[in-house]
Structures are given as C-alpha cells and as structure tokens.
C-alpha cells in the first residue's frame, strides 16, 4: 500500500517534470545518433596531397578516392605550403629522391597518405616487373618458335616444349582472395564495435544521474525527513525509489535498444531478450549506485562532481579500449566496474550471439553489485532515522 503510493508519487512528479523526461528519453537517442553520424563520415575521409616535380606515373599511381592531388609549382618550403594551403602533406621529388612532408595534426590523414604512397610505389614496381616479364615472354616465345622450327626439322621431339610452357604459367600466379567474416560483415565499422558498449553506457549514465538527483532533492527539501517521520520502513523508501525510477529506466532501456535496432539497422546475432536483461540489470545497478552516491552529496552541484570519479573511469574500462591490451596491473581495475560486465555481455550478445548461459556469470556479478549497493543504501538511511 505504502509502496504503491510511493511509486505513484514518483510517477506523477516525473511526468510533470518535462525537462527531466526529455533528458531521460530524448538525450540518449540524440547522443547515439550523433555518434552514429560521426562514425559514418569517418569511413570516407580524404586527405589533400600537394605534389611538386613528381613523376606523373607515380602521381597517377598514388591517386585514389581517399587522396586529393594538388600540383604545386612554387619554390617555398613544404612546411609553409602545408601551413598556407592546409594540405595534409606535400610530396617533392628530386631525381630519385622522394620527400614526403606531413602535417600530422590528424594522424588518420597521415596514415592515408603514407599508405597511398606505398601502394603507388608497389603498383609502379609491379608494372615495371610486368613489362620486363612481357619482354622476356616475347623473347622466350621467339626462342620457342625458332626451337619449334628446329625440332620440327628434327621431328618428333615436340613434347620437350611443354615443360617450358608450364613454367611460364607459374611465373605469374593470379590469386583470387575471398574474405569470410566470423562476426559482422565487410560493412562493419568501428561504430558497430562501439554501439553495444555505448547502449550500456547511455543507459547507465542517465539512470545514475536522474535517480541520484531525485533522491538528493528529497534530502535537501526535507521531504525525506518528513517521510521518515511516518511509520514507513527505510527499506520501503529505497525499494519505492528503485521501483518508481525502475519503471522509467525500463522504458528508457527499451527505447534505446529498439532505436538502435530499427534506426541504425544494427544486426543482433543473439537474443534481444538477453539485451533487455543486461540493460535492465545495468539500469538497476546505476539506480542503486545513484541513490547511494547522492548520500555523499549535499547539492545537485556536488552530485555532478561525482561524475568524473564514478562514471568517466567506467567508460575507459568498458571495452572501448580492449581491456586485455591494458597493462597487467590495470586490468583488475576493470573488474570492479559494473559497466565492464554490462558492456562486455552486450558486445558478446550483439556481435557473437552469446546465449543466456554465456552471459550469466556477468549478470551474476551485476546482481552482486546491486545487492551490495542496496545494503549500503539501507545503512546510509540510518543517518536520517535510526530505526
């Protein structure tokens, strides 16, 4: 009865607070969409290359859809050309000597130029090799013909020519490469790797923030004290909050997951129910953590101050930087971050089709986090009423 009234009150309060509602439901979708477009444009990035006195064959070989070639005629230094025209790099040729000067303020552009230059050189070399082979082949052909003429004159020895032909074919093997992808497809971008982690993070962050501030407001306005002046149990207050805000967290989670599936058209190999399950667990952990952290804040501003301590480090250990590539002493730190377990299971379900049994250990850890935070919350409530 009390619990239902608590939940009902939280729902009414929340529904009348349009801004918070928008923050909870629209902001996550906005952030995800923004990231989606950011990572889309990244795949067809181009770099401008200034060329000076460079062999036109080489220039032609370097040219591809990621490189814009600009001819440079002035004699000023490569550095000032880059500065004045904002080129990603300048390539100068003096005799057999090539000099590539890179702006290098954007490493991905430098990489494009280096790669294109390398490719171009290989292309030129293989072309040159091909011409030599052709010339040799022609010479060989001539020899064969004359040989054939000789053998014909000698009679019956034509079989001897065959092995020579066979060797000719081996000299220019023509490989055909077919690539198979275990997870994802050739269209996979970094965004696809990032998305499962991002969904988990967005759910975690917004639920943490809103639940924390909600309970904080209750503390600072004194309504919590007044609430505890009634025979309500401390656990009823915490559970009421958990359920009241849990409803919003649930709706938010559904919205974020469905949005990513239908709008970004992301392929989910595992079951969507597992995805909901992971995110609901993450939301509940964020909720209990938010309520707990708000105990240590005396104003909304102080609550925001906890974000760099409590939330930001979790992003680093959520899998955006692969945890198994971190320094050995750093890896255990990931294990105390709830988001690490959530994001890891999300990636496994979405990209690798992990089943409930596969993610159960991670869910178990999240459950443990939730129980610990709940217990600490009940203890923290003692500050306000000792029974």
């Amino acid at each position: 009865m009390r619990l239902l009234t608590m939940i009902k009150r939280i729902l009414i309060e929340m529904l009348r607070d349009k801004r918070t509602l928008a923050l909870m439901f629209i902001a996550p979708l906005f952030i995800l969409s923004l990231l989606y477009f950011l990572f889309q444009s990244n795949t067809n990035q181009t770099a401008t290359l200034g060329v000076r006195n460079v062999n036109s064959a080489l220039v032609k070989a370097i040219d591809n859809k990621h490189v814009k070639i600009r001819q440079v005629t002035s004699d000023t230094s490569a550095k000032s050309i880059i500065r004045d025209d904002d080129y990603a790099g300048v390539l100068t040729q003096k005799g057999n000597h090539l000099t590539l000067t890179l702006q290098n303020s954007d490493q991905s552009k430098s990489a494009i130029l280096k790669q294109s230059l390398q490719k171009g050189q290989i292309q030129l070399k293989s072309k040159a090799a091909a011409t030599t082979i052709k010339a040799q082949a022609a010479a060989l052909n001539k020899m064969q013909k004359s040989l054939a003429a000789v053998t014909r004159q000698m009679g019956g020895a034509s079989k001897a020519i065959q092995p020579i032909r066979g060797e000719q074919k081996l000299a220019a093997p023509n490989y055909h490469l077919v690539t198979h992808y275990l997870y994802g497809s050739q269209d996979s971008t970094y965004f696809d790797t990032l998305l499962p982690i991002l969904i988990g993070f967005v759910v975690f962050f917004f639920v943490f923030l809103i639940s924390g501030i909600a309970l904080l407001r209750e503390r600072t306005t004194g309504t919590l004290n007044r609430l505890l002046a009634t025979p309500i149990k401390r656990s009823e207050v915490i559970v009421g909050y958990l359920l009241g805000y849990g409803i919003f967290a649930l709706i938010q989670t559904m919205l974020v997951v469905l949005f990513t599936i239908y709008v970004f058209n992301i392929q989910i190999i595992g079951s969507i129910w597992n995805i909901f399950l992971i995110n609901i667990m993450l939301a509940v952990v964020a909720l209990t953590l938010g309520l707990l952290i708000s105990t240590f804040a005396s104003s909304e501003f102080q609550m925001v101050q906890f974000i760099p301590i409590v939330v930001i480090p979790q992003i680093f250990f959520s899998g955006i930087i692969p945890v198994n590539q971190m320094a050995d002493w750093l890896q255990p730190v990931a294990k105390i971050m709830p988001l690490y377990y959530g994001a890891q299971s999300m990636s496994n379900v979405i990209e690798k089709g992990a089943t409930f049994v596969n993610i159960a250990p991670s869910l178990g850890v999240l459950l443990l986090f939730m129980i610990v935070f709940l217990a600490l919350n009940l203890l923290a409530m003692r500050r306000y009423r000792q029974v």
Binding site: M1, R2, T5, M6, R9, I12, E13, R16, D17, T221, G222, T223, N225, R226, L227, L228, A229, T230, P231, I232, K233, Y384, R385, Q386, V387
Partner: protein, 246 residues
C-alpha cells in the same frame, strides 16, 4: 491525564559534540508544551530524539509508554518539520494524500480528513493548486495541515508559526487549544514569546540545557518579572553566571 511524552536524564549529541544535556520533561495528554530557545539551542535535536529519529546517547525517551525509537509508533505522531518539506510539483491535495497514506491512513478516511485539515489553515480553495505556485506562508500552512491530517494523538510542531500572519496565528492557536481540549498532546518549538504565553507549559532551552520550566504564570511569578520574555532573559543571565563560576 496520562503521561504521553516522558523524557528523563536525556543527553544527546552527534559524535563527540554534546547538543543536549540533562533534559527532563513530561507532557500529559491535553497539554500544550512549548520548547523555547534561540536557534542552535538544541530544540530540533530534542524533537528528533522524541520522535525516535535519533537514538538517545544517554537517558530515556518514552512516548505513550513505549521507549523510543519505535517505528510503528510514529503513526500516532503528527509532525511538522522546520523546513517546508513539500513536493512542489504535486498539488496540495496530492501532498496531503501522499503523507496521509504514508502515515497509514485509509484513503476513505483521508477524503474526510483533508477538507477538515485544510479548513483549519484556510487552504480549502487552494487545494488543487501546485505547491510551486504557493507563497511562503501558504506552504507553512500546508505543512501544518499535513501534520493534522492523520488526526494524531500527539502533535509535534517545529516552528509552526514562522511566516504566518497574526490573524491566522490566532486561528491556529484556537484550533490547537481545541485539539488539546479533546485530549491531544501538543509539543511545539518556537522562538516567538507570544507562542510561549499561549502554551500550558514552557521549557526554555539555551546552549543545550533546560534553564527554566513551568507554566507561563508560574515562571513569571518565580522570576519576579512581568513577561515570559523577561523570564527567558533573566534565566539566561543566571545560566551564564553559573558557567562562569565553573
């Protein structure tokens, strides 16, 4: 007349700081006790201890013969906090319904009680307004209505008359006297001397100690002065004199 609130040899504090020492008080049903003292004297701490929000550091507190803290007993206490602890995005009606339900009152009974409680504080016509649109005085009145809505045996009011105009103050006192006459126990804190004069019994607190206790008439007679305010000033000077002698 039965003792409803009994505090004996209470010492209270936070950590090592002692906020209250050697407090003894008894309130009987039908009595209005005013705790009077400057801010920071320890009035709110005493009220919190009586309500069982804090466990006594030393000494005993009993309400309705039950040692405090005791959670279920809070259903019999109507409390008005010093701050206007209200949900500003809810209407006054919704606030009353919510706190009433938390107090454990059935919805049906609340429907009868809300107009009555709102009537005492002149808020009947504003019940459907959101609290965020309320003035400071209206919030204070609504806060009092919330304490009254459960029709409790004991009323504990922390600074109930702050920000309330004289006319309404009189009306509220009239209602408090009626409630006392009906056998309710009322304990209130104040730093307004006029409030103290309306009370049946006064306890003056200064620096965590009870410096004077009795009915207003008794106190005025004992101290040989003409008003409660002068009693307070004289008792305060006596307290300072004894601490200096220590």
């Amino acid at each position: 007349m039965t003792n409803t609130i009994q505090v004996s040899n209470l010492e209270q504090g936070y950590g090592r700081t002692v906020v209250l020492k050697d407090i003894n008080l008894t309130v009987t049903s039908g009595e209005i006790l005013a705790l009077i003292g400057p801010s920071g004297a320890g009035k709110t701490t005493l009220v919190s201890t009586i309500m069982g929000m804090l466990r006594p550091m030393r000494g005993q507190v009993a309400v309705l013969n039950t040692p405090m803290p005791n959670r279920p007993l809070l259903a019999k206490i109507g409390f008005m906090a010093q701050t206007d602890a209200l949900y500003s995005s809810l209407t006054a009606q919704e606030n009353l319904l919510f706190f009433g339900a938390m107090q454990g009152i059935s919805r049906k009974k609340l429907r009868e009680q809300i107009p009555h409680a709102a009537g005492i504080v002149n808020l009947v016509s504003d019940l459907t307004k959101q609290v965020s649109d309320y003035s400071g005085g209206m919030k204070r009145r609504l806060s009092l209505a919330i304490a009254l809505v459960s029709d409790p045996e004991i009323l504990i009011l922390d600074e109930p008359t702050v920000g309330i105009d004289p006319e309404l103050r009189q009306q509220i006192w009239h209602e408090l006297h009626q409630l006392a006459a009906a056998g309710r126990t009322i304990l209130l804190t104040t730093h307004v001397m006029e409030d103290a004069e309306e009370a049946d019994e006064v306890m003056m607190i200064r620096n965590g100690e009870a410096i004077a206790q009795g009915t207003p008439a008794e106190l005025i007679a004992n101290y040989g002065v003409s008003s409660v305010e002068e009693v307070f000033l004289k008792a305060g000077r006596q307290q300072d004199a004894t601490t200096h002698n220590d």
